[in-house]
Symmetry: C2
Subunit: 185 residues, 2 copies
Protein backbone atom coordinates (compact mmCIF):
# COMPACT_ATOMS: atom_id res chain seq x y z
CA UNK A 1 0.00 0.00 0.00
CA UNK A 2 3.08 2.28 0.00
CA UNK A 3 1.93 3.85 -3.26
CA UNK A 4 -1.07 5.29 -1.36
CA UNK A 5 0.36 6.34 2.02
CA UNK A 6 0.87 9.98 3.03
CA UNK A 7 3.63 10.70 5.54
CA UNK A 8 3.13 13.44 8.14
CA UNK A 9 5.99 15.94 8.05
CA UNK A 10 4.43 18.62 10.26
CA UNK A 11 1.49 19.02 12.62
CA UNK A 12 -0.22 22.07 14.07
CA UNK A 13 -2.86 21.83 16.80
CA UNK A 14 -5.55 24.37 15.96
CA UNK A 15 -8.11 23.74 18.68
CA UNK A 16 -8.66 21.66 21.79
CA UNK A 17 -12.32 21.43 22.81
CA UNK A 18 -14.68 19.55 25.12
CA UNK A 19 -15.59 17.11 22.35
CA UNK A 20 -13.22 17.58 19.41
CA UNK A 21 -9.61 18.56 18.75
CA UNK A 22 -8.58 20.00 15.38
CA UNK A 23 -5.21 19.60 13.66
CA UNK A 24 -3.66 20.63 10.37
CA UNK A 25 -0.99 18.24 9.13
CA UNK A 26 1.58 18.79 6.39
CA UNK A 27 1.91 15.56 4.45
CA UNK A 28 4.32 14.12 1.92
CA UNK A 29 2.24 12.58 -0.87
CA UNK A 30 3.13 9.31 -2.65
CA UNK A 31 4.38 11.33 -5.65
CA UNK A 32 6.80 13.38 -3.53
CA UNK A 33 4.67 16.54 -3.51
CA UNK A 34 3.28 18.01 -0.29
CA UNK A 35 -0.23 18.93 0.80
CA UNK A 36 -2.21 19.86 3.93
CA UNK A 37 -4.82 17.71 5.69
CA UNK A 38 -7.40 19.07 8.14
CA UNK A 39 -8.21 16.54 10.83
CA UNK A 40 -10.85 16.40 13.56
CA UNK A 41 -10.11 14.08 16.49
CA UNK A 42 -13.14 12.69 18.32
CA UNK A 43 -13.32 10.19 21.22
CA UNK A 44 -15.69 7.86 19.32
CA UNK A 45 -19.26 6.95 20.13
CA UNK A 46 -21.80 4.19 20.51
CA UNK A 47 -25.32 3.93 19.13
CA UNK A 48 -28.05 1.44 20.02
CA UNK A 49 -30.78 -0.09 17.87
CA UNK A 50 -33.14 -1.00 20.73
CA UNK A 51 -36.18 -3.11 19.86
CA UNK A 52 -38.99 -3.91 22.31
CA UNK A 53 -40.71 -7.30 22.61
CA UNK A 54 -43.55 -5.74 20.55
CA UNK A 55 -40.99 -5.00 17.79
CA UNK A 56 -41.11 -1.26 18.38
CA UNK A 57 -37.85 0.61 17.72
CA UNK A 58 -36.88 3.05 20.49
CA UNK A 59 -35.81 6.43 19.11
CA UNK A 60 -34.84 9.80 20.56
CA UNK A 61 -35.73 13.24 19.24
CA UNK A 62 -33.18 15.95 19.98
CA UNK A 63 -31.93 19.29 18.75
CA UNK A 64 -28.59 19.28 16.91
CA UNK A 65 -26.85 22.64 17.01
CA UNK A 66 -24.50 21.76 14.11
CA UNK A 67 -27.59 21.39 11.89
CA UNK A 68 -29.84 23.93 13.67
CA UNK A 69 -32.69 21.43 13.63
CA UNK A 70 -34.32 18.60 15.52
CA UNK A 71 -33.47 15.03 14.40
CA UNK A 72 -34.87 11.64 15.32
CA UNK A 73 -32.02 9.18 15.95
CA UNK A 74 -31.26 5.91 17.66
CA UNK A 75 -29.93 6.52 21.20
CA UNK A 76 -26.21 7.34 21.13
CA UNK A 77 -23.43 8.90 23.12
CA UNK A 78 -19.73 9.55 23.25
CA UNK A 79 -17.27 7.03 24.62
CA UNK A 80 -15.87 7.90 28.03
CA UNK A 81 -12.15 7.32 28.54
CA UNK A 82 -11.44 3.74 29.55
CA UNK A 83 -15.06 2.62 29.14
CA UNK A 84 -15.78 -0.44 26.97
CA UNK A 85 -18.16 0.42 24.10
CA UNK A 86 -20.73 -2.16 25.26
CA UNK A 87 -20.81 -0.54 28.72
CA UNK A 88 -21.27 2.91 27.15
CA UNK A 89 -24.09 1.46 25.06
CA UNK A 90 -25.90 0.11 28.14
CA UNK A 91 -25.38 3.38 30.01
CA UNK A 92 -26.56 5.64 27.18
CA UNK A 93 -29.62 3.50 26.45
CA UNK A 94 -30.68 3.63 30.09
CA UNK A 95 -29.90 7.34 30.56
CA UNK A 96 -31.71 8.47 27.42
CA UNK A 97 -34.68 6.07 27.37
CA UNK A 98 -34.98 4.44 30.80
CA UNK A 99 -34.55 0.99 29.23
CA UNK A 100 -32.13 -1.68 30.37
CA UNK A 101 -31.74 -4.78 28.18
CA UNK A 102 -31.01 -8.47 28.67
CA UNK A 103 -29.33 -8.86 25.27
CA UNK A 104 -26.84 -6.33 23.85
CA UNK A 105 -24.70 -7.39 20.91
CA UNK A 106 -22.43 -5.55 18.44
CA UNK A 107 -23.62 -5.06 14.87
CA UNK A 108 -21.11 -2.97 12.91
CA UNK A 109 -18.59 -0.31 13.81
CA UNK A 110 -17.75 2.39 11.28
CA UNK A 111 -15.91 5.65 10.76
CA UNK A 112 -18.49 8.34 10.07
CA UNK A 113 -16.40 10.81 8.04
CA UNK A 114 -13.04 9.28 7.09
CA UNK A 115 -12.17 12.27 4.88
CA UNK A 116 -11.67 14.61 7.83
CA UNK A 117 -12.53 12.95 11.18
CA UNK A 118 -11.50 9.88 13.17
CA UNK A 119 -14.89 9.39 14.87
CA UNK A 120 -15.63 5.64 15.10
CA UNK A 121 -19.21 4.67 15.98
CA UNK A 122 -19.99 1.24 17.44
CA UNK A 123 -23.58 0.19 16.77
CA UNK A 124 -25.26 -2.37 19.04
CA UNK A 125 -28.55 -4.26 18.93
CA UNK A 126 -30.43 -4.27 22.25
CA UNK A 127 -33.27 -6.73 22.76
CA UNK A 128 -35.37 -8.06 25.65
CA UNK A 129 -35.74 -4.51 26.98
CA UNK A 130 -36.83 -3.85 30.57
CA UNK A 131 -38.12 -0.42 31.62
CA UNK A 132 -35.99 0.48 34.63
CA UNK A 133 -36.75 4.15 35.06
CA UNK A 134 -39.73 6.20 34.05
CA UNK A 135 -37.51 9.27 34.33
CA UNK A 136 -34.55 9.93 32.05
CA UNK A 137 -31.13 10.59 33.58
CA UNK A 138 -29.71 12.99 31.04
CA UNK A 139 -26.54 15.06 31.04
CA UNK A 140 -27.15 18.58 32.31
CA UNK A 141 -27.04 20.01 28.77
CA UNK A 142 -29.06 17.21 27.14
CA UNK A 143 -32.79 17.41 26.24
CA UNK A 144 -34.34 14.38 24.59
CA UNK A 145 -37.85 13.08 23.75
CA UNK A 146 -38.29 9.31 23.52
CA UNK A 147 -40.54 7.66 20.93
CA UNK A 148 -41.28 4.05 20.02
CA UNK A 149 -42.18 3.25 16.42
CA UNK A 150 -42.83 0.29 14.16
CA UNK A 151 -40.47 -0.47 11.25
CA UNK A 152 -43.01 1.06 8.84
CA UNK A 153 -43.20 4.23 10.93
CA UNK A 154 -39.40 4.41 11.02
CA UNK A 155 -39.28 4.13 7.21
CA UNK A 156 -41.78 7.01 7.02
CA UNK A 157 -39.58 9.09 9.34
CA UNK A 158 -36.70 8.48 6.91
CA UNK A 159 -38.92 9.45 3.98
CA UNK A 160 -39.84 12.71 5.79
CA UNK A 161 -36.16 13.37 6.68
CA UNK A 162 -36.93 13.46 10.39
CA UNK A 163 -34.54 10.50 10.56
CA UNK A 164 -31.64 11.89 8.53
CA UNK A 165 -28.33 10.63 9.90
CA UNK A 166 -26.02 7.81 8.83
CA UNK A 167 -26.08 5.59 11.94
CA UNK A 168 -29.88 5.66 12.23
CA UNK A 169 -30.57 5.01 8.53
CA UNK A 170 -28.00 2.20 8.69
CA UNK A 171 -29.70 0.74 11.81
CA UNK A 172 -33.23 0.89 10.38
CA UNK A 173 -31.98 -0.70 7.15
CA UNK A 174 -30.24 -3.39 9.23
CA UNK A 175 -33.54 -4.17 10.95
CA UNK A 176 -35.33 -4.26 7.58
CA UNK A 177 -32.70 -6.68 6.25
CA UNK A 178 -32.87 -8.84 9.37
CA UNK A 179 -36.61 -9.20 8.95
CA UNK A 180 -36.18 -9.99 5.23
CA UNK A 181 -33.44 -12.59 5.67
CA UNK A 182 -34.04 -13.96 9.15
CA UNK A 183 -31.16 -13.84 11.63
CA UNK A 184 -28.11 -12.20 10.07
CA UNK A 185 -25.42 -13.10 12.53
CA UNK B 1 -40.20 21.34 19.52
CA UNK B 2 -39.39 24.50 21.50
CA UNK B 3 -38.65 22.41 24.58
CA UNK B 4 -35.64 20.97 22.70
CA UNK B 5 -34.20 23.95 20.79
CA UNK B 6 -30.92 25.65 21.76
CA UNK B 7 -30.57 29.34 20.85
CA UNK B 8 -27.18 30.66 19.73
CA UNK B 9 -26.15 33.66 21.85
CA UNK B 10 -22.53 33.90 20.70
CA UNK B 11 -20.30 32.49 17.99
CA UNK B 12 -16.53 32.34 17.59
CA UNK B 13 -14.86 31.22 14.35
CA UNK B 14 -11.89 29.09 15.34
CA UNK B 15 -10.57 27.95 11.97
CA UNK B 16 -11.17 28.41 8.28
CA UNK B 17 -9.64 25.64 6.17
CA UNK B 18 -9.62 24.20 2.64
CA UNK B 19 -12.26 21.63 3.58
CA UNK B 20 -13.70 22.48 6.99
CA UNK B 21 -14.46 25.54 9.12
CA UNK B 22 -14.68 25.23 12.91
CA UNK B 23 -16.88 27.29 15.24
CA UNK B 24 -17.63 27.39 18.96
CA UNK B 25 -21.12 28.63 19.77
CA UNK B 26 -22.51 29.73 23.11
CA UNK B 27 -26.05 28.43 23.40
CA UNK B 28 -29.03 29.08 25.62
CA UNK B 29 -30.45 25.67 26.62
CA UNK B 30 -34.19 24.93 26.92
CA UNK B 31 -33.88 25.13 30.72
CA UNK B 32 -32.36 28.63 30.65
CA UNK B 33 -28.80 27.48 31.36
CA UNK B 34 -25.97 28.06 28.89
CA UNK B 35 -23.47 25.69 27.28
CA UNK B 36 -20.91 25.58 24.45
CA UNK B 37 -21.21 23.64 21.18
CA UNK B 38 -18.25 22.81 18.93
CA UNK B 39 -19.27 22.74 15.29
CA UNK B 40 -17.49 21.65 12.10
CA UNK B 41 -18.87 23.09 8.85
CA UNK B 42 -18.31 20.97 5.74
CA UNK B 43 -19.49 21.56 2.15
CA UNK B 44 -21.20 18.15 1.93
CA UNK B 45 -20.35 15.20 -0.28
CA UNK B 46 -21.64 12.56 -2.64
CA UNK B 47 -20.95 8.83 -2.72
CA UNK B 48 -21.77 6.32 -5.45
CA UNK B 49 -22.72 2.65 -5.21
CA UNK B 50 -21.69 1.69 -8.75
CA UNK B 51 -22.62 -1.81 -9.93
CA UNK B 52 -21.45 -3.31 -13.23
CA UNK B 53 -23.63 -5.43 -15.54
CA UNK B 54 -21.83 -8.47 -14.04
CA UNK B 55 -23.05 -7.32 -10.57
CA UNK B 56 -19.58 -6.32 -9.45
CA UNK B 57 -19.43 -3.38 -7.02
CA UNK B 58 -16.81 -0.76 -7.94
CA UNK B 59 -14.74 0.30 -4.91
CA UNK B 60 -11.74 2.54 -4.32
CA UNK B 61 -8.84 1.95 -1.97
CA UNK B 62 -7.24 5.09 -0.55
CA UNK B 63 -5.21 6.36 2.37
CA UNK B 64 -7.10 8.42 4.95
CA UNK B 65 -4.83 10.72 6.95
CA UNK B 66 -7.42 11.25 9.71
CA UNK B 67 -7.25 7.50 10.43
CA UNK B 68 -3.62 6.92 9.35
CA UNK B 69 -4.70 3.89 7.38
CA UNK B 70 -5.92 2.67 4.01
CA UNK B 71 -9.68 2.12 3.61
CA UNK B 72 -11.79 0.56 0.88
CA UNK B 73 -14.82 2.77 0.15
CA UNK B 74 -17.41 3.48 -2.50
CA UNK B 75 -16.27 6.35 -4.77
CA UNK B 76 -17.02 9.72 -3.17
CA UNK B 77 -16.11 13.35 -3.22
CA UNK B 78 -16.93 16.77 -1.88
CA UNK B 79 -19.63 18.95 -3.40
CA UNK B 80 -18.35 21.89 -5.40
CA UNK B 81 -20.12 25.22 -4.91
CA UNK B 82 -23.18 25.49 -7.12
CA UNK B 83 -22.89 21.91 -8.42
CA UNK B 84 -25.94 19.64 -8.22
CA UNK B 85 -25.19 16.48 -6.18
CA UNK B 86 -26.05 14.20 -9.11
CA UNK B 87 -23.52 16.05 -11.32
CA UNK B 88 -20.86 15.71 -8.60
CA UNK B 89 -21.68 12.00 -8.39
CA UNK B 90 -21.18 11.52 -12.15
CA UNK B 91 -17.96 13.53 -12.09
CA UNK B 92 -16.46 11.74 -9.08
CA UNK B 93 -17.35 8.29 -10.41
CA UNK B 94 -15.67 9.05 -13.73
CA UNK B 95 -12.60 10.75 -12.21
CA UNK B 96 -11.93 8.02 -9.65
CA UNK B 97 -12.87 4.90 -11.62
CA UNK B 98 -13.07 5.83 -15.33
CA UNK B 99 -16.73 4.72 -15.41
CA UNK B 100 -19.62 6.73 -16.80
CA UNK B 101 -23.14 5.40 -16.23
CA UNK B 102 -26.46 5.44 -18.07
CA UNK B 103 -28.51 5.29 -14.87
CA UNK B 104 -27.75 7.36 -11.75
CA UNK B 105 -30.42 7.67 -9.09
CA UNK B 106 -30.49 8.92 -5.50
CA UNK B 107 -30.73 6.41 -2.65
CA UNK B 108 -30.52 8.16 0.72
CA UNK B 109 -28.90 11.35 1.95
CA UNK B 110 -27.69 11.54 5.55
CA UNK B 111 -25.75 13.62 8.03
CA UNK B 112 -22.64 11.68 8.98
CA UNK B 113 -21.95 13.12 12.46
CA UNK B 114 -24.87 15.28 13.64
CA UNK B 115 -23.32 15.70 17.09
CA UNK B 116 -20.55 17.98 15.83
CA UNK B 117 -20.60 18.35 12.02
CA UNK B 118 -23.02 19.47 9.30
CA UNK B 119 -21.60 17.18 6.59
CA UNK B 120 -24.48 15.82 4.49
CA UNK B 121 -23.67 12.88 2.18
CA UNK B 122 -25.87 12.10 -0.82
CA UNK B 123 -25.60 8.45 -1.88
CA UNK B 124 -26.45 7.44 -5.45
CA UNK B 125 -26.84 4.12 -7.24
CA UNK B 126 -25.08 4.00 -10.63
CA UNK B 127 -25.95 1.21 -13.07
CA UNK B 128 -25.38 0.39 -16.75
CA UNK B 129 -21.75 1.44 -16.40
CA UNK B 130 -19.61 2.25 -19.43
CA UNK B 131 -15.82 2.39 -19.18
CA UNK B 132 -14.91 5.79 -20.63
CA UNK B 133 -11.29 6.14 -19.58
CA UNK B 134 -8.67 3.54 -18.77
CA UNK B 135 -6.78 6.28 -16.90
CA UNK B 136 -8.09 7.97 -13.77
CA UNK B 137 -8.36 11.77 -13.68
CA UNK B 138 -7.64 12.40 -10.03
CA UNK B 139 -7.07 15.60 -8.09
CA UNK B 140 -3.39 16.43 -7.78
CA UNK B 141 -3.30 15.26 -4.15
CA UNK B 142 -5.48 12.13 -4.66
CA UNK B 143 -4.14 8.56 -4.99
CA UNK B 144 -6.68 5.80 -5.46
CA UNK B 145 -6.73 2.09 -6.46
CA UNK B 146 -9.90 0.76 -8.10
CA UNK B 147 -11.27 -2.70 -7.38
CA UNK B 148 -14.40 -4.57 -8.48
CA UNK B 149 -15.88 -7.13 -6.12
CA UNK B 150 -18.91 -9.36 -5.75
CA UNK B 151 -21.40 -8.79 -2.92
CA UNK B 152 -19.87 -11.75 -1.03
CA UNK B 153 -16.39 -10.26 -1.41
CA UNK B 154 -17.67 -6.89 -0.21
CA UNK B 155 -19.16 -8.56 2.89
CA UNK B 156 -15.77 -10.17 3.54
CA UNK B 157 -14.08 -6.76 3.23
CA UNK B 158 -16.49 -5.48 5.91
CA UNK B 159 -15.72 -8.52 8.09
CA UNK B 160 -11.97 -7.77 7.75
CA UNK B 161 -12.54 -4.05 8.47
CA UNK B 162 -10.99 -3.02 5.16
CA UNK B 163 -14.42 -1.53 4.46
CA UNK B 164 -14.98 0.38 7.69
CA UNK B 165 -16.92 3.58 7.03
CA UNK B 166 -20.59 4.48 7.39
CA UNK B 167 -21.51 5.33 3.78
CA UNK B 168 -19.88 2.17 2.36
CA UNK B 169 -21.35 -0.21 4.94
CA UNK B 170 -24.74 1.45 4.38
CA UNK B 171 -24.35 1.06 0.58
CA UNK B 172 -23.31 -2.62 0.70
CA UNK B 173 -26.18 -3.33 3.10
CA UNK B 174 -28.53 -1.49 0.71
CA UNK B 175 -27.40 -3.75 -2.13
CA UNK B 176 -27.85 -6.83 0.07
CA UNK B 177 -31.38 -5.69 0.95
CA UNK B 178 -32.20 -4.90 -2.69
CA UNK B 179 -31.19 -8.41 -3.69
CA UNK B 180 -33.23 -9.89 -0.81
CA UNK B 181 -36.40 -7.88 -1.46
CA UNK B 182 -36.24 -7.13 -5.18
CA UNK B 183 -36.48 -3.51 -6.30
CA UNK B 184 -36.75 -1.21 -3.28
CA UNK B 185 -37.80 2.06 -4.85
Amino acid sequence: MDHLVEKTIGQEKIFSGKVIDVYVEDVLLPNGQTSKREIVKHPGAVAVLAVTDEEKIVLVRQYRKALDRVLVEIPAGKLEKGEEPIATARRELEEETGYACKVMRPLHSFYTSPGFADELVHVFLAEQLVKKNEEQALDEDEFVDVLEVTLDEALQLIERKEIYDAKTIYAIQYWQLKKALGDLK
